[in-house]
């Protein structure tokens, strides 16, 4: 893929009470940010399992953003701290597997920080543009990889 036309695809997990609200506010304020980001709503970042990040990368995501409440301001008291711990662990695993850890990032965004969210997204897109596409994309082209492990996980 040509670097110039490369538009990173990023999954952003946003917690309902803060980050998702700030993404809505960004809309109300008509802030503009790159369109490659897809937001998935979660009740709390503490709900997010490490597997989701891994799965996103294995599927070919160029980046994953985890956006929770400000530290100390979590609607569920400390869910964002659990998330922080997991994100940092997954970053280490990514690094070891040869995937730049900058592709996974956690930020703390309050419901009023729409401009911050937009700039974080822009920053992240720029960072990933420099890194180039997710290396896994090169080795797999979709369906031939089987996700047995996940199948197992999801059967519960």
């Amino acid at each position: 893929m040509n670097d110039k036309t490369f538009e990173p695809k990023i999954i952003a997990f946003c917690c309902h009470y803060c980050a998702y609200a700030s993404a809505d506010l960004a809309g109300s304020m008509r802030l503009q940010y790159p369109s490659g980001v897809r937001i998935i709503r979660t009740p709390c970042t503490g709900r997010l399992e490490a597997e989701y990040y891994m799965r996103a990368f294995e599927n070919g995501a160029d980046g994953v953003l985890v956006a929770g409440c400000l530290e100390g301001g979590c609607h569920f008291i400390e869910g964002n701290l659990f998330a922080k711990k997991r994100v940092s662990a997954v970053r280490d695993i990514l690094q070891e597997s040869g995937i730049e850890k900058e592709r996974l990032r956690m930020v703390n965004i309050s419901a009023a920080m729409a401009t911050n969210l937009a700039s974080v997204i822009k920053e992240m897109v720029n960072t990933i543009k420099e890194l180039g596409p997710n290396p896994i994309r090169k080795i797999h082209n979709g369906p031939e990889i089987e996700f047995k492990e996940y199948e197992m996980l999801n059967s519960r």
Partner: protein, 1487 residues
């Protein structure tokens, strides 16, 4: 006040939409009462929505308040009335009839879907009050982005000065705003609504509007006339280029009533145009060869080209107006003929006859008259002859026109002779200037005596005019007949005024007045029925615009006359209301901008022809000029919003209304206003742009604010590193300002300093203060954290003034530093911590309701009954009672709700409604059948995202059986359609692709329920807020993204399962732990509400700490209060209490707690729905300052006790009090809040008994917050000496033989140590938490803070709740506080508990975590990580989750190492399905 067994109204009116009003409403509505929440603002949320973050937790204010606001707006039993105020209360407690005045929003809230198009379309930009003038807003806009209700409103309070001043009341501001948007045609049409001569008036109007222009206070008025000209020129340009077609020519319908108009001048033409529009057959009789009147024959072409006039007359003709030229009434047709042929006549023949001089020689050849001369000059073919040497007599506009016309017709020399001095001349200044430029001489101060010459003229003799006007200002020239001069002239043109043609007036035979027709000034009726007159022949010669105004007025009257309508009532003139003068934009802070100047022909190029002199503005100049408009009236009524709103929700015709309501009680929570910092002139607020108020700084800090959270100077937008905060601006001083302490500012400033240091590197913050009042729970620790920071400095000094340094605009503060003395220091930004005061309008209206107001304008209350106003049944809470911070406000709100519930308990649940839904059909075994509805949201989505394409792309997704798109999916008709489709297509999952689930999910879930589907089978894809709005510049990618978002949602919906909440029964009684004032108050409140209460007290008596204190600071008797309270409590039939009882064990959950106690050695068990902890705290003990070892050293409590027993040992003794003994140090980091007031109270008490006593109070900060400040002042006035000490340099106590002798203190405020020979040393030791809190907190599984006090669920908004539901805390167990605050808090817990106890069943979480028992490995990780204590180990040694306690966060789900837990509605496979779907990974997992 007790009303027994009476029928009462189960509704409460809450006035004030701030956090207090919202909390009170929610508590009431959730406890079985109907609530009317009345807010003066267009939104609810009050001051809290303005804040960036809250202290001490640093929570984002919006994050925490918004959900409450949304909850409030969604509650079925809360009716929000915005832009409203309570006007009248009739009736009695329990059965009030109240009147609410509601101002119009100009938006139909039911239709508006908050798309924001109106705001985009609105051209008006005005100062934004939400951002405290730091930014701008549109005239139609939401108060702020997250506002609730999320609808815009229009700021409209009256009409702008320009419109009011214009005789025809043209909407000047409106068309200027349209010009700003380059909407020239719309601008011209807006002008033509009130004046058909837009192009003409763009040239010749004297523009009275400009004299009224507010901009002239800043620099100079707007060039309104030229802007009007630009717009109409653009229109004519389009017409000439063929791009604009003239309207079709109309003909009046046959048989309609006929109107004749005499005279085709501006008045006649205007009236004709309007009457033709009204459908009448109008004929104008014009005696000259062309219509236009004075416009045609009085105004020279170089000012008004003929084609411009003809264009506008043509437009009028096309309305169906007949113009008969060369027809003079009285000559060519008689007036009676005319009257016979028409149903009404309008006479607007003008004043075309020149006045004569009546001097000798006037009959000579060569004497002409102004208006005749101009008329001749106007006719191309037959121009008058002009000789070489012309003298024009007159000083008015006609004279000037005559002189300039004579020059153009070839005169060699033209001289104008005016009676008036130059500055008195009635001609327009610009015209005089142009006249002089063209070389015309003006001789001022002379009047004609006689015209000289034999047969033809040779000259004129002039006499000197001494004065033109008499002492009454009437025109009455007087002359010095002896001073004369002679001017040579061969032609004299007399232009000293015009009058009405006498032939006409005589002929018609209606009443006259000073030679004009006598008319009613409003209706323009004459003395003869059916005959109307206006314009110059009724009012005397005037301007074009006055004639137009008369024409409009006449048309209105004639129309009404012919339609047999009342001619006078409800006319346009009556609808005009000037915008309140005091609210007009201030000239301060407005940057000066030059008024645009139109170019003109040079003198050489104009004096020999009749070409138009003035050039139009360039478009660029016009834009700049239009930008200068200050938008005085806010909304300009340009109606751009009306055309932008596709849903037709904007309605400018809305008017205010009065709403009458029946309620049982009223709660006042109207909040406060900020002190007007401008009153402190020495600080230069509103003069120096870098001086801000604390609220402005809060907006600056806010990420969503006008500075996006950047802390910058306002003048140059550079980072503001040197920031000073000045405390007590408007507080703790009597003038200007208020005597009381505003309570919150010290902490607000500390928070702002902390936040600012996070926002920018290298902040140097200085906080100027008298005392730092960090008296709230955990506040002092926060203050100490700030104080420990290197870049924040607290200085005990109040700056005397601020000077803005020339050049740099740095702000120089002048103050006396406690160490360095006189100091000057410069800063980038100064923040004034403005105090709180009641809104004047609120105070006034509350007073009108018959409720007593205290000396500061707040609601009058007693310390021991803080929620009760002077009017029974009306309660108060929040900052309107006394300045206070958020938690205390929320507490009082709940407490006031409890008061209302006590009063209205018999009528509980009588007026509330709940929704009934059809039976839900079981979908568990069905294959997913998904219906997808994609929303256009007008153009909000469809303008960027190709909605059709999205719909097309998803219709083959797995499970999708229906894919459709709608204009507004949330409209009533679309919702009905969804219901129909669910039934018709047997849908069992619904996906809507539209806006955000945060606002719209509840609406759609509701729809599903109404169609018999479980609400959890719904999924929303956010393709507006998070797609079309944020990617409007890349529509293709936005469409692609929308497709993917919808597909992801479909894949999630495919897996969604119906969820059922669990209904658990509620035990409708409460247990209260602790029998002090808090416990008893809470118990009584619940008991009064009709709930059974059991109170458990470990000691042998009731009353707690009340035994130790005897009076309040206000000198109210607490002994009696205690006795009364115990009496009332112990005899209440709903209360049982158990002394000498200890708690052994607590189990269960909300609705069903089990409490095991031991009373007098015997076990006992209670079951209850809620528990209130009111276990109190105790006075701290100390060993410091030789307490216990040296005689004459005692605690405040001991002093109070001895004062109470009347033992003043000796007169003239010296008392030393030391504050903060054993508190605010490393060991006990908190402030005990009460000790300063207690010391002041006891000092005053001593002084009252013995004025000769010497009292020294050694303190660190005096924290007499709120109205208690007054007693601090009284103490100082009584001679009590306050000496500050430093915590690192404590006072030293000396004794002689074990008896106190002296106290030595080194104060930072004094150069030398102070030695006080003391007779008594009093130690303020503060409050310490109960030791057994630890054991109880373990039993209840609720947290304690480092100091052993209970930790509430949320510091600000859930101040008496615990994170675990069903448990509440109040009183000293929560933190040290005053008795009135304990009472409020106790009542608050009662209200909070009532929200549970009022229900027989409670529906608990559907979205909860579930443990798969087979997978659980009993590691108990979930038990450890859950913040709510929901998981527990069951009988099988496996984890299980208490549904009633689970909050649905999913932390346990993600943490469980065995993956044994799933969170309903957010299951793992829902997430993975979305992730897979996005990358088109083949679905490997079925649902």
């Amino acid at each position: 006040m007790k009303i027994e067994k009476k029928k009462m109204t189960g509704a409460v009116l809450v006035e004030g939409g701030g956090i207090a009003g919202v909390q009170a409403s929610l508590d009431l509505a959730n406890s079985g009462y109907k609530v009317y929440l009345v807010s003066r603002s267009a939104t609810i949320g009050g001051m809290m929505s303005h804040l960036d973050k809250t202290f001490p937790t640093g929570d984002c204010a919006t994050c925490i308040v918004s959900p409450k606001l949304v909850e409030c707006s969604r509650n079925l039993n809360i009716e929000i009335l915005t832009l409203s105020e309570l006007e009248k209360i009739d009736g009695e407690p329990g059965n009030f009839k109240v009147t609410v005045k509601k101002s119009p929003r100009y938006i139909n809230e039911k239709i508006c879907n908050d798309c924001g198009e109106c705001t985009t379309a609105c051209p008006v930009e005005i100062s934004d009050k939400f951002n405290r003038d730091l930014g701008t807003r549109k005239a139609i806009q939401k108060y702020y982005a997250q506002a609730v209700p999320n609808k815009p409103h229009i700021l409209k309070l009256g009409h702008s000065p320009c419109k009011m001043k214009c005789p025809a009341n043209i909407n000047v501001q409106g068309y200027i705003q349209l010009i700003k948007k380059k909407e020239y045609l719309k601008a011209v049409n807006l002008i033509r609504e009130r004046n058909p001569f837009a192009a003409v008036c763009g040239r010749v109007c004297p523009a009275p509007c400009e004299t009224a222009c507010t901009r002239s206070k800043v620099d100079s008025s707007l060039a309104i006339r030229q802007l009007k000209r630009l717009a109409s020129d653009q229109e004519i340009k389009l017409y000439k280029s063929g791009k604009l077609k003239l309207p079709e020519e109309k003909k009046p319908a046959s048989g309609v009533k006929k109107v004749a108009i005499i005279g085709g001048g501006p008045a006649g033409l205007t009236a004709a145009a309007d009457l033709a529009d009204k459908g009448f057959a109008v004929t104008i009789y014009e005696s000259r060869d062309s219509a236009g009147g004075m416009l045609y024959c009085g105004i020279p072409r170089y000012r008004l080209p003929k084609d411009i006039l003809d264009y506008e007359i043509e437009l009028i003709k096309r309305k169906g107006v007949q113009i008969v030229l060369n027809c003079t009434i009285g000559k060519d047709k008689t007036f009676s003929e005319l009257k016979k042929e028409n149903e009404a006549v309008f006479i607007s023949a003008g004043a075309h006859v020149s006045r004569k001089l009546n001097i000798g020689g006037e009959d000579k050849n060569g004497v002409n008259y102004g208006i005749e001369f101009l008329r001749q000059a106007a006719i191309e073919k037959n121009k008058p002859k002009v000789t070489e040497n012309v003298v024009v007599i007159g000083g008015g506009n006609v004279a000037v026109d005559v002189a300039r016309t004579a020059l153009r017709l070839g005169a060699k020399r033209v001289e104008l002779v005016s009676l008036e001095q130059r500055n008195e001349m009635p001609a327009y200044k610009d015209e005089i200037k142009a006249t002089l430029e063209e070389g015309i001489l003006i001789r001022n101060g002379w009047g004609p005596k006689q015209i000289l010459g034999n047969g033809s003229i040779t000259g004129i003799e002039l006499k000197q005019c001494i004065s033109v006007f008499d002492s009454n200002g009437k025109f009455k020239p007087s002359y010095d007949e002896n001073k004369t001069i002679i001017l040579d002239a061969d032609q004299i043109i007399v232009s000293i005024g015009q009058m009405v043609d006498g032939d006409l007036t005589d002929d018609i035979g209606i009443d006259l007045e000073r030679g004009c027709f006598k008319v009613n000034p409003i209706t323009l009726e004459t003395s003869v029925e059916g005959i109307f007159a206006g314009g110059d022949n009724a009012s005397g010669p005037g301007s074009v615009i006055e004639a137009v105004a008369a024409g409009k007025r006449a048309a209105e009257s004639i129309g009404r006359y012919l339609n047999d309508e009342d001619i006078l009532s409800g006319r346009f003139e009556h609808s005009l209301k000037p915008f309140p003068e005091e609210l007009l934009p201030s000239a301060k802070n407005v940057a000066k901008k030059q008024r645009a100047l139109a170019g003109e022909l040079t003198v050489d190029n104009r004096v020999n022809n009749f070409n138009e002199i003035e050039y139009p503005f360039s478009e660029e100049d016009a834009m700049k000029e239009a930008e200068r408009c200050l938008n005085c009236a806010q909304c300009s009524e340009c109606m751009e919003c009306v055309s932008a709103c596709e849903k037709k929700a904007v309605d400018h015709s809305m008017s205010g209304q009065k709403v009458e309501l029946e309620v049982g009680a009223v709660i006042l929570t109207p909040g406060f206003d900020e002190f007007d910092a401008e009153q402190k002139g020495e600080y230069g607020f509103n003069r120096y742009s870098n001086v801000l108020t604390s609220v402005q700084f809060e907006r600056m800090l806010s990420a969503a604010g006008p500075y996006s959270g950047h802390v910058v100077r306002r003048d140059n937008r550079k980072e503001a590193k040197r920031i000073a905060w000045i405390q007590c601006v408007g507080s703790r001083e009597s003038k200007p300002g208020n005597e009381y302490c505003s309570s919150i500012c010290c902490m607000a400033t500390t928070k702002q300093a902390m936040l600012a240091s996070e926002h920018l590197n290298g902040l140097q913050g200085t906080i100027f203060n008298m005392d730092i009042r960090a008296h709230g729970k955990d506040f002092d620790q926060y203050y100490e954290r700030a104080r420990a920071m290197k870049n924040i400095e607290y200085i005990k000094s109040m700056p005397s003034r601020i000077v803005q340094m020339p050049g740099s605009n740095d702000l120089r503060l002048v103050y006396v530093d406690p160490v360095k003395g006189y100091t000057e220091k410069e800063f980038d930004l100064v923040v004034l911590a403005v105090g709180l005061e009641p809104k004047i309008s609120v105070t006034e209206s509350v007073r009108k309701l018959g409720i007593e107001i205290n000396e500061y304008g707040f609601c009058k209350t007693d310390r021991l009954s803080p929620l009760i106003t002077s009017k029974p049944g009306v309660f108060v809470g929040g900052a309107f009672q006394e300045p206070k911070d958020i938690p205390e406000t929320v507490v009082q709100a709940s407490a006031a709700a409890a008061m209302a519930m006590e009063l209205l308990s018999p009528s509980k649940n009588t007026l509330v409604t709940s929704r009934e839904y059809p039976y839900e059909h079981d979908v568990t075994d069905e294959k997913p059948r998904i219906g997808v509805f994609v929303c256009h949201c007008g153009i909000n989505i469809a303008g960027t995202v190709d909605v059709e394409k999205v719909t097309e792309s998803i219709k083959n997704e797995p499970g999708v059986v229906l894919a459709s798109h709608t204009m507004y999916t949330c409209s009533d008709s679309s919702l009905s359609n969804i219901k129909e489709q669910i039934v018709k297509n047997r849908l069992n999952r619904v996906v809507v692709a539209s806006c955000t689930p945060r606002t719209h999910e509840p609406i759609f879930r509701e729809t599903l329920r109404e169609a018999g589907l479980n609400p959890y089978l719904f999924e929303l894809a956010n393709i507006r807020d998070q797609c079309s709005w944020v990617h409007s510049s890349e529509p293709e990618n936005a469409t692609l993204k929308a497709v993917e978002l919808v597909k992801m949602s479909i894949s999630r919906a495919f897996r969604l399962m119906p969820l059922e909440g669990e209904k658990i029964p509620i035990h409708q009684n409460a247990v209260i732990i602790g029998g002090g004032v808090s416990g008893m108050t809470a118990a009584l409140s619940l008991a009064e509400q009709g709930y059974d209460v059991d109170l458990i007290e470990k000691s042998s008596q009731l009353g707690g700490n009340l035994a130790l204190i005897h009076s309040t600071l206000e000198n109210e008797n607490l002994n009696k209060f205690k006795d009364d309270l115990i009496e009332k409590f112990s005899t209440h039939r709903n209360i049982d209490y158990y002394l000498n009882s200890t708690i052994e064990k607590v189990t269960g959950h909300i609705g069903e707690f089990k409490i095991h106690i031991i009373k007098d050695g015997k076990p006992k068990e209670f079951t209850c729905g809620a528990i209130i902890i009111a276990t109190g705290a105790r006075p701290a003990v100390t060993k410091e300052y030789a307490y216990g070892t040296v005689k004459k050293v005692k605690t405040q409590i001991e002093l109070e006790d001895s004062l109470n027993s009347g033992k003043i040992e000796k007169r003239g003794q010296t008392y030393v009090m030391i504050q903060c003994v054993g508190s605010r140090n490393l060991e006990n980091a908190y402030c005990s809040r009460i000790c300063c007031s207690m010391a002041v109270k006891n000092a005053l008490r001593i002084k009252r008994g013995d004025p000769t006593a010497n009292i020294y109070i050694l303190y660190r900060d005096i924290r007499t917050y709120g109205f208690r400040e007054i007693y601090y002042k009284q103490a100082r006035e009584a001679g009590v000496v306050f000496i500050r000490y430093d915590e690192n340099n404590l006072p030293v106590v000396s004794d002689i033989n074990g008896v106190l002798s002296s106290v030595k203190v080194e104060s930072p405020d004094f150069p030398e140590p102070i030695l006080i020979e003391a007779d008594q040393l009093i130690l303020s030791t503060g409050i310490t938490s109960e030791k057994d809190n630890k054991a109880l907190s373990n039993m209840l599984k609720v947290p304690l803070n480092a100091n052993g006090f209970y930790v509430e669920a949320h510091m600000k908004l859930r101040p008496v709740d615990f994170a675990t539901e069903g448990l509440f805390v109040c009183g000293l167990a929560h933190s040290p506080k005053m008795i009135d605050e304990n009472i409020s808090q106790a009542k608050a817990t009662a209200a909070r508990a009532a929200t549970i106890l009022s229900k027989s069943h409670l529906e608990v979480g559907a979205q909860v975590s579930i443990v798969n028992q087979n997978k659980c490995i009993s590691c108990m990780t979930c038990v450890n990580v859950c913040p709510y204590g929901a998981p527990y180990c069951n009988y099988n040694h496996k984890a299980e989750i208490e549904r009633a306690k689970c909050m649905g966060c999913g932390i346990c789900t993600a943490e469980c190492p065995a993956r044994a837990i799933q969170l309903n509605h957010f299951k793992s496979n829902y997430f993975t399905a979305m992730i897979d779907n996005l990358f088109h990974v083949e679905e490997t997992v079925s649902r």
